[in-house]
């Protein structure tokens, strides 16, 4: 579904993605973790070319993202992206936030799009907040609207970039619950997160990154109980004992 072959990216001098190789199968849930600045956000932002890669091949759902000639609109429509800071459109209601892309990118008619929007908002537990504006919603609710916004595109892949990092502790679980349900329904997902409970429960594999490189790839139980590298051990100690 997502295939990185020797992917490299630099910000000036900084080698932010260093020879990345990774194959993500359909239905897999990949949790990406690592210290800040390790390139984990960049890793998933490349998938829909929010950041272009400079070297290597990145193929998503059979389409070559590394190729400048590829029509990204088509790929982007198949990928839901959830940001750390929600990034909802403040001048639109929750429902309008979820229907704008289906209407304008997928070409659905208004009735179809709204039906779908309602359905997805209901699915994330916000049936009673459909006509609210983002500023009238809590952080956790806003993030769930953002997830619903991704889901109304009927995506094949959902990407999450630290979806709970900007949330109060008691709101984190409501977002994780939604993500957990999605994972269990077989959605292909990549999530940058330090929610290790979530990773243990639903991740197919954990990708551990440092300084732009993938250091370890392992099923969560193996990674958490028996990391193969010193860097991984040190990282786990520091997040588990904080």
């Amino acid at each position: 579904m997502i295939s990185y072959k020797n992917v490299n990216k630099w910000y000036g001098e900084l080698h932010v993605l260093n020879s990345i190789n990774l194959e993500v199968e359909k239905g897999e849930v990949i949790v990406v973790c690592g210290p800040s600045g390790s390139g984990k956000s960049t890793l998933i932002r490349c998938i829909n070319r929010l950041e272009p890669i400079q070297e290597g091949e990145l193929v998503v759902d059979g389409m070559a993202v590394h190729d400048k000639k590829t029509n990204m609109t088509k790929i982007r429509a198949e990928i839901g992206f959830v940001f750390q800071s929600f990034n909802l459109y403040p001048h639109m209601t929750a429902l309008e936030n979820t229907t704008i892309a289906p209407l304008k990118v997928r070409g659905f008619n208004k009735a179809e799009a709204e039906k779908l929007g309602r359905e997805m908002l209901t699915r994330v537990g916000l049936a009673d907040r459909i006509d609210h504006y983002p500023a009238q919603l809590s952080g956790g609710q806003q993030q769930r609207v953002a997830i619903a916004r991704g889901l109304t595109m009927k995506p094949k892949i959902m990407l999450f970039d630290e979806p709970t990092s900007a949330l109060d502790p008691e709101m984190i679980h409501e977002v994780l619950d939604v993500m957990r349900d999605l994972a269990k329904e077989g959605m292909t997902m990549m999530a940058v997160t330090h929610e290790m409970g979530f990773a243990r429960e639903v991740a197919s594999r954990v990708v551990f990154m440092d300084e732009g490189k993938i250091i370890e790839i392992a099923p969560p139980n193996d990674f958490f109980t028996n990391p193969q590298t010193d860097r991984g051990k040190y990282f786990l100690q520091s997040i588990l004992t904080h």
């Binding site: 829909n48 982007r76 990928i79 990034n87 403040p90 990118v105 609210h132 504006y133 500023a135």
Partner: protein, 222 residues
């Protein structure tokens, strides 16, 4: 103070004033519409990826903002015909006002756009919306809502600047005051009446901006 004030003569010239009031309204209205369009285009060019478009917009905006409107007006009125381009006076006036205010609108709209959090633009990109769609549905509705007040300020300046068109013998409100003054030697009556009509336009604009602000600004959003 008003004992010597000749109201009868104002009444006598009222048809002229009404005609000139209408002229100021449509000249300014047309220029305002043109200026907002030019402003959006110049702003889009200034924020574009292309270095050439960026420089063209930059030169246009800076030239206009650093030179007096009267000089620009005279350039269009005297300069263009000498280069072989003959335009009717009213069109010369509208072009000068449009290009002048357009530069200011470009900067006002740019400020409104740059105030929008980049994350929203990324969200738009990520969901597959095109540049035009992001502008149309995400950025401009917010940018225009945020900038109603400075836009109104610029509209008022444009209406007042339209008085300069009297200098290229277009019949508008200031010209009406000049006519009354020169025909009847009553400058106080002439220009006070002119001023009163500008005040009416100001209140019309203010009412419009209040109404559109209610429609465009999303109080819930802030």
């Amino acid at each position: 103070m008003l004992e010597g004030f000749n109201f009868r003569i104002i009444w006598e010239y009222m048809p002229l004033y009404m005609q000139c009031f209408a002229a100021t309204l449509w000249l300014s209205g047309l220029s305002l519409f043109g200026a907002v369009v030019v402003g959006i285009i110049a702003c889009a060019m200034r924020l574009s990826q292309s270095r050439i478009l960026r420089s063209i917009a930059g030169v246009y905006i800076e030239t206009i903002r650093s030179t007096p409107l009267l000089a620009q007006l005279y350039f269009f009125y005297f300069g263009l015909p000498s280069m072989g381009i003959m335009l009717p006076e009213w069109l010369t006036g509208v072009i000068a006002l449009t290009l002048n205010s357009g530069a200011y609108y470009a900067e006002i709209i740019r400020a409104g756009i740059q105030a929008i959090d980049f994350g929203q633009i990324e969200a738009g990109i990520a969901s597959g919306l095109s540049y035009i769609q992001r502008m149309r549905f995400i950025i401009l509705p917010q940018a225009l809502g945020n900038t109603i007040r400075p836009m109104l300020g610029q509209a008022i300046i444009l209406v007042k600047d339209s008085s300069l068109l009297s200098l290229i013998s277009i019949m508008e409100l200031t010209r009406a005051g000049q006519v009354l003054t020169s025909e009847r030697f009553t400058p106080a009556e002439g220009f006070l009446t002119t001023a009163a009509f500008y005040l009416i336009i100001y209140y019309m604009l203010k009412a419009f901006s209040g109404w559109s602000e209610k429609r465009l600004i999303f109080r819930e959003a802030h």
